[in-house]
């Protein structure tokens, strides 16, 4: 039996691979197993290849896992298209449709010999039991139920939910296919016992959510009552969720004509006194640059979610990358500092999104929340959350005394001026992108301009002292350091554990606040560090380069980065750490030589 398991499936569009994955994680969660499910698609609208990977475990899992324990190829062509996203190794059990005619000795995964290859009559069983090939995914769910030892009723529950909408006879066909799968699996036990041990927690308590819906829900919890945006993969689910829910909370959703109008209307709503959100991906973010600058100068709160995908330009819309960090920090003309936050997993998306709103409101600034396709579209189990734990902040309103002589951009010690809104008597002012004095009146004075730049940048300083926005793991004195952000952080968490079992002395820092760069936090963390890696999914290693702008990194800290759509594995990070440790020992040996 096993405690932690990764299943990967791939097939053509109509095969229902993703819905099988959803049934699987849903059934697992209902039984009390923790899990993460990611999905990945080709760019076709319908009928292209699709895949999912489901990790199930008796304890919480930090990432979608490494090589597959169980691979299911509905057909080989589609499976192979996902390459490194669905890695098979010597421990994997590979299941594929016997209709493909491929012999188990000659799998098309060249150079690799899995633990077991099993040709199963997936399509034949579907046809025989349900009358068509449309129930192939139900057959596979039957296999999984048996081989993984998951509760049949829980698995059928997922199927029922999905299929009953299409009619009772559709579910009945699915149920028969599921049973056929169960019977086949009972007759054909696997060479590896992949049955999961009993879960740690009680059944029926875990929540299940993906990053996009969690972000949208968190926005509602944070008090957001206006959303405007333009659909763009992979962020659209945020808008779709809010378009179902926000009205019920007295909010409104506007589908704008483009991303410029999307952020424009959000900023207008904020000017009118409401908390506002827009969500997009890289290309939309490029269009928003000018209005983001306006928000900075007009000192208006607004939260912008960028669900990153492969770039530049159209790039790879359906796959994750972390290459918009520079854009989030620096896409502006003039001297602009805007806070940039990044959640690391679905559960983390809740507090970090609320924090994004709190920071926007408290500091009267646009805030960019950097998510990515993997994090946003992956489903994750999470422990139930008490919403009462979150503090929701409101912007600082002028007092009646302040309204006697209201100055919207009044110089204050902390740089935060009370903010009025249309409808409030005596609070009238001119919001503008043009430089202005304390009253909001336009000016071309260099002196006033310098003072206002200082005000707008200085007010964000306290953010750098918010230690709660940074997470450290491992021995603070460890000579090896790991730094990572966003969805890569979970990979490093697991790498850290693996490295510890190998005897490597490693610590990990995960910033949720990426900008402004909190120099002191990094300096403290790196004290005593002699070597290490900044791990991220971008070709240039954008966090590494950003840190080098602001922090004197020890010479042994190097970038561990590559382009998106090719997820970094924990084992690779451990290998990198091992190398770094060896290099340190070589240096140490060299320094000893003269004494010999």
């Amino acid at each position: 039996m096993v405690t932690d398991l990764v299943i990967g499936m791939a097939g053509a569009g109509g095969d229902g691979v993703v819905s099988a994955g959803e049934s699987l994680i849903g059934a697992g969660a209902a039984q009390g197993y923790h899990g993460i499910m990611t999905k990945s698609f080709g760019s076709q609208i319908l009928g292209g290849e699709s895949s999912c990977r489901v990790r199930l475990s008796v304890a919480t899992v930090p990432n979608p896992g490494g090589p597959l324990d169980l691979a299911v190829a509905f057909n080989w062509d589609d499976f192979l298209r996902f390459g490194a996203e669905l890695p098979v190794d010597g421990r994997s059990v590979v299941i594929y449709d016997s209709g493909s005619g491929v012999s188990p000795e000659r799998l098309p995964i060249v150079g690799l010999s899995p633990r077991q290859a099993l040709a199963a009559p997936i399509a034949d069983l579907s046809r025989a039991s349900a009358g068509s090939e449309r129930s192939k995914n139900a057959v596979v769910l039957g296999f999984l139920s048996t081989w993984l030892g998951l509760d049949k009723e829980a698995m059928l529950g997922g199927l029922r939910k999905r299929l009953s909408k299409k009619g009772p006879e559709v579910f009945e066909a699915g149920r028969r296919a599921f049973e056929a799968g169960v019977q086949f699996a009972e007759r054909n036990p696997l060479a590896r016992d992949l049955r999961l041990e009993a879960p740690g927690g009680p059944p029926g308590t875990l929540w299940l959510a993906d990053g996009n819906e969690m972000c949208a829900a968190a926005a509602i919890l944070a008090g957001c009552r206006f959303f405007s945006g333009y659909p763009i993969t992979p962020s659209t689910e945020i808008m779709q969720f809010l378009s179902r829910e926000l009205w019920k909370y007295d909010g409104a959703v506007l589908q704008a004509e483009d991303e410029i109008a999307g952020i424009g209307a959000a900023l207008g709503a904020s000017f009118a006194g409401r908390k506002a959100l827009t969500a997009t991906s890289g290309p939309g973010m490029s269009l928003m640059a000018e209005v983001l600058g306006l928000a900075t100068v007009a000192e208006l709160p607004v939260v912008v979610v960028n669900v990153q995908r492969g770039g530049p330009s159209t790039g790879i819309p359906t796959k994750a990358e972390q290459s918009d960090l520079f854009q989030a920090c620096f896409s502006a003309h003039g001297d602009v500092v805007r806070p940039v936050l990044a959640p690391t997993r679905v559960s983390d998306t809740l507090p970090v999104t609320i924090e994004a709103f709190n920071i926007a409101e408290r500091y009267q600034t646009p805030v960019v929340l950097l998510s990515d396709q993997e994090l946003a579209q992956r489903k994750e189990t999470l422990e139930p959350v008490d919403p009462g734990l979150f503090k929701v902040e409101e912007r600082r309103r002028p007092t009646p005394t302040e309204l006697q002589d209201y100055r919207r951009f009044r110089a204050t010690e902390d740089g935060i001026s009370p903010i009025s809104h249309p409808g409030l008597p005596r609070g009238n002012y001119l919001a503008a992108g043009i430089e202005h004095n304390e009253h909001g009146d336009p000016t071309a004075s260099g002196l006033v301009h310098a003072r206002m730049n200082e005000k707008r940048i200085h007010k964000l300083e306290p953010l750098k002292r918010r230690r709660g926005l940074f997470r450290t793991l491992g021995d603070p004195e460890a000579p090896l350091a790991l730094l990572s952000w966003g969805s890569c952080a979970g990979i490093c968490e697991e790498a850290l554990q693996k490295a510890h079992t190998e005897g490597l002395c490693v610590k990990l820092l995960v910033p949720r606040l990426l900008y402004p760069v909190a120099e002191d936090v990094y300096r403290d963390f790196l004290r005593g560090a002699q070597a290490g890696l900044v791990v991220e999914q971008s070709h240039q290693g954008q966090l590494f380069r950003l840190l080098r702008m602001f922090v004197d990194l020890p010479a042994g800290i190097t970038s561990f980065a590559r382009s998106g759509a090719h997820p970094i594995q924990p084992a690779e990070v451990v290998a990198g750490l091992r190398e770094a440790a060896l290099a340190l020992q070589r240096v140490h040996a060299l320094t000893l030589q003269p004494q010999e």
Binding site: L208, G264, A272, V385, H421, G423
Partner: protein
Amino acid sequence: MRHATDYKSELKPIWCPGCGDFGVVQAFYRALCAVGRPAHEIAFVSGIGCSSRIPGYTSAYGFNSVHGRALPIAQGIKLANPELQVLVAGGDGDGFSIGGGHLPHAIRRNIDLTYVVMDNQVYGLTKGQLSPTSPLGRKTPTSTYGSLEEPVNPLLYVLAYGCGFVAQGTPADMAGLSALIEEAIRYPGFAFVNVQSPCISFGDPELQLRAHKSRMRPLAALAHDPAQRLPAMALAQDYGRELHTGVFYRNPEPPPTLETRVRERQRELAPGALPPERILQLFGGR
């Protein structure tokens, strides 16, 4: 009792002496006074350009935003707080060139906004370049040998997109312009007023305010029925040749505004707003 001067701010306009925009801001003061909402209940949004300075010269809440984006910002304001009276103003470049893509959508959404364009057929703030309403053949520093492009016809454009209130005025007729802006504000839906507001420094010297006085053709005198869209479109064809003033079109049965529909949607889905923590229930027990 309110006075027109209640709506005037202390800022001194940067406009050139003789600019048509002085008359437009005066017409605004009068219209706002006639409608009578206190200045703090008014949000006045603009983009960039000479005319976009106008919110700063009123005592309302103003938002002098970025080039071409006044309409999206104004829509966000009105949807966030439908109680406000929301005005939008800008020039022909702001509205029909860089921001041209927003206009059809503002019109079809029918949010209760009043959009006043100060149309002078030239880029004044950057000192005299071609604008989207400049006539064919116009020589400017960016059309050295004369423009090769036909101009936009703003009146026909907004009528074609289904705008419920369309008018044109000139500051040469202050009483008429004030009345048009007032009527536009009172119209329950998206209202558009094109103001022929001549540029004294870079505009056609033959088409200044003095010329407007003799050239203007009040639509009322043509026995035009503003309840009829097609005759309005026929008259709008004269844009650039004739100076028609007055209401081209006023929808006699204004449809519900978007903000009304939003309110209905909210009440239909939840008679009273749900408590925010309710949203997390979606993630449990499934």
